[in-house]
Amino acid sequence: MGKGTGRRRPRLQVDVSDAIWSSVKQTADRFFRGATSDAVVAAFGAFRWMLDQKQQGKRVIAVDADALPGRYSEPVLPGVDEALANDRWTWLIEQPHPWRRQLWIKGRRMTAGQLVAHLRGNDWTPEETARQLRLPVEAVLEAQRYVEANAALVEAEAIEEERAARRMVTTHPPEVVGAHPR
């Protein structure tokens, strides 16, 4: 663009509550690399699309993917759709648990954190970890990505495991040469 030829874009300033600001910020951080203006523009675009549909006498509803009608319109949300697709883990799954919130390896009694602890503690490659635990390499790689993205949660739950173990112990090792110092 030549110097001085660009037209200044209108600026929009609005007063919002702390809750709305927090929501805008979270959305921007999650989907728009922190750009609040992009988040607001995308949100208004989605709202505008819903308004247009309603003005055409259509209903705007949400259905499960396996219950889609033969004909339908769907808004495209650049940035959001890709990010949500990344959230759909293939080898990890939620499991109901009283306090664990990290994801588990699908079909196993093993959390993502425990799998990665095997890998790190043994200095195993993802391939060796997969062989040792009889899992696909993709599951190991996915667990690594998950643990990196949720390190604080995984660490907090490991601490809880340790606390439970210490509560449960009935017998301590004798103080002998070579035993782990307590």
Binding site: W99, G107, R108, R109, M110, T111, G113, Q114, A117, H118, R120, G121, N122, D123, R131, Q132, L133, R134, E155, A158, E160, E161, E162, A164, A165, R166, R167, M168, V169, T170, T171, H172, P173, P174, G178, A179, H180, P181, R182
Partner: protein, 117 residues
């Protein structure tokens, strides 16, 4: 010892080491619930070796005459994690103290390992 290895510890390396040491080793079908694992262990006189201590806390408390538990937990630093060799050595140390039977005892295997060279 007769040991039921929980699925979260079931690596080729650990199973091979425990078998080589002469232990009777069992694992169960994938993703069984805690209660089923615990019941199987008690019905078959097996020590439960697990990296999920909290999952067996209430079960162990409710069964004082259980056949024993060996607990492992993750440690912050990778170099402090219990590796299969550490676990096998710690189990051996436990065997030298208790013999083949661990009835009613719950041990923190992290505390029973020998320091690394």
């Amino acid at each position: 010892m007769r040991i039921l290895v929980d699925e979260n510890l079931d690596s080729e390396d650990l199973m091979a080491r425990l078998r080589k040491a002469g232990h009777h080793i069992e694992t169960l079908a994938k993703a069984l619930d805690d209660a089923s694992i615990w019941q199987h262990a008690q019905a078959n006189a097996l020590v439960v070796l697990t990296a999920n201590p909290p999952d067996f806390e209430s079960l162990a408390a409710a069964t004082p005459a259980h056949h024993g538990s060996l607990l492992i937990y993750g440690e912050g630093l990778p170099r402090k994690q219990m590796r299969p060799a550490d676990i096998a050595e710690a189990v051996e140390f436990v065997r030298t103290i208790f013999g083949e039977h661990l009835g009613g005892h719950v041990l923190d295997l992290n505390a029973w390992r020998r320091p690394r060279e």
